[in-house]
């Protein structure tokens, strides 16, 4: 073989061999043998959020996931699951395997402040199972209650001091039953409750801060120490990274 031909083959080998070997390497990527993992790309919601956003798997079947962030730091967490959130750093691949033991629709979401629309960053995993198996909890409450959480809920009056349930109780006002149902609490934001309470005849002589104290009282009456403790744990786990967690329990 003469030199020119050898050189041509060398260049052709590079020009064809490099792309071919890359494609082959991609094709036989790790995990292919054990069932190809699903690659989920995380981008800021403005750029597409989770992709793919909707997954499905059968009960008891391992769901292998490769999580990749294409822009900033995200975190992957699944609702109704004990698994801690997984941080996903830009350009790095994180793998995880999920196994669901109950059918249902699970929401997965980002727990890192990734942008102004961070809280919109959600996806779903539909877990299919035999009829008769106990179902996982249904879709998220905001969904079943028909609450559009994407709509802004500005407060008419923002309290200048932290509302206090104790001060609210000291006002000696009997809170009507309709405010003491779990359903009301779930459907109504604190700002909405403030509007409702402001319109009540018994609050006509109260100032705006005192009405906020009544809002705090309503929330307090609808809970118990155990629920507060659970809430604190959930807040620390899922919310504190963005919404700050202080010893004074503000968030």
């Amino acid at each position: 073989m003469n030199a020119e031909r050898t050189a041509r083959l060398f260049v052709l080998g590079l020009l064809i061999g490099i792309p071919l070997s890359i494609l082959l390497a991609r094709w036989i990527a790790p995990g292919a043998a054990a069932g190809r993992p699903v690659e989920i790309h995380a981008r800021m919601p403005e750029a597409g959020g989770w992709s793919p956003a909707d997954l499905s798997i059968s009960v008891g079947v391992p769901l292998h996931l490769r999580l990749v962030s294409d822009d900033v730091v995200h975190s992957f967490a699944v609702g109704q699951s004990d698994q801690p959130a997984i941080d996903i750093y830009p350009g790095e691949v994180v793998e995880t395997t999920l196994i669901f033991d109950r059918p249902g629709k699970y929401v997965y979401y980002c727990t890192r402040w990734c942008g102004p629309n961070h809280w919109r960053m959600r996806g779903t995993i539909e877990v299919l199972g035999e009829t008769g198996e106990p179902q996982a909890e249904g879709p998220p409450l905001f969904s079943t209650l028909g609450i559009d959480i994407d709509v802004p809920h500005p407060a008419d009056v923002v309290p200048t001091r932290r509302p206090s349930a104790r001060r609210g109780a000291d006002l000696g006002i009997h809170i009507p039953e309709k405010y003491l149902s779990l359903d009301y609490l779930r459907r109504t934001s604190p700002a909405g409750a403030w509007q409702d309470l402001r319109a009540e005849p018994f609050s006509q002589d109260l100032n705006d801060e005192q009405v906020w104290d009544l809002v705090a009282l309503v929330w307090k009456l609808n809970t118990n120490p155990q629920a507060i403790q659970t809430g604190q744990q959930l807040f620390a786990q899922n919310c504190a990274a963005c919404h700050r967690y202080l010893s004074g329990r503000s968030g």
Binding site: E4, A7, L14, L15, I18, P19, I22, R26, V68, V93
Partner: protein, 461 residues
Amino acid sequence: MSRYDLLQLPLLKLGLRSRWPQFLVRAIALGGFIFAILAGLLGTPVGSRNFGIVFVWIAWWALLMLVAVPLFGRGWCSICPIPMPGEWLQQGNVLKPGLGGPAGFFRRFVLGRRWPNAWRNIWLQNGAFTLVALFSTVVLTQPRTTAIVLAGFLVVAIGTSLVFERRAFCRYLCPVGGFIGLYSQLAPTELRVKDTTVCAAHTVKTCYTGSAEGYGCPWQVFPGGLVKNTYCGTCMECLRTCPHDNIALNLRSFGADLTIPGGRKLDEAYKAFIMLGSAIVYAAVLLGPWAFLKSAAYGVGSWPWLAYALAFLAFVFGLLPGFFFLAVALGRRISKGRQPLQKQFVAYSYALVPLGLAAWIAFSLSFVLTNFSYLWPALSDPFGWGWDLVGTAGVGWTPYLTGTIPALQALVLLGGLGWAALTARRIAGETLPQGGEIRQALPVAAYCLLVTTALMVLLVG
């Protein structure tokens, strides 16, 4: 001025005369180039984890601006892979000289035209560099855009090789080659002929026409007439084709070309302004604290970007040369010089060549040393697909020598300023007697001081 011919080293001469070492380096570089394009297109969009961005804009750029250009001038051009595929089609051969051109099917596509006389300058290179510079914040950070730009270089180079003779792309179009040529005047190496009378007597001029040993100068340069590095691509073809062993690869003093009065041109003068201006703008946009400037530069197609682009053009093509023109005019007035003002403007702009290179070295030092550690994960996982080929995928970002960067930058910038001032004085001395040349060069030196101060503020703080 003393020179030492490196080709007196037999091993080096053998290595440079042989086609194989250069071919292998270029072919491997071509492989790397294709790999970088594919990484940009198929890999992660996260720039710091993509081979395309990390190897092109950190590793290659560091090699080019901190080593290759200052020491070897157009050394990079001699191993650049971009013209290789086009030349293969143009010549019919990839290694040995194919004097007959391509055979068979490809012959009909090779037109072999002469480059138009009107464009036998570097204005197109100036335009090409400016065009890339306007989009550079996006090009430098988005792998896909980098890949498209690199692929564009390759496509244009192939197209140019098919239509025009020799390496017209490298000589007249390549935006990188344009500034490498300008700054290669500073390098301590040069390719020249040993004896011009030998060339004059050699009627065949195989260095330009080619022979069985090598191609006629791909850069369209007659080595016998070489006095500056600017347009010599150091491809070593003349070393192979010269039957009289009349080619020398000299070690010389830094910046020897700047002392040669002839061959100064307006297109090269503007290249100096474009490069200096771009370094200042990049320093402000990429390293400065002004978020609005970054947003505008990144927002390609938006109104703020349009304003940024217009400001960039006004700064590079208007403000910088405008004030320089005033400085030259002032120097001419106070020294009672009689040279035409335009000629002086062009001549003095060569004083900006060392200052420009110093600015680019100082600018490159800041991000190259800071971001060099991105190389290790990119080596192991070039596409960001979760590979760990050499076990370095998990290496974290570690800025190197951050404590010494400002001192190095200041040193380089001050060195550039001193060199620029000396060059200005030397240029003045070409036409003025002793004493007068200092008065004439003073405003230009003051201009350089102003620019250096701005760079100091932006880069060193």
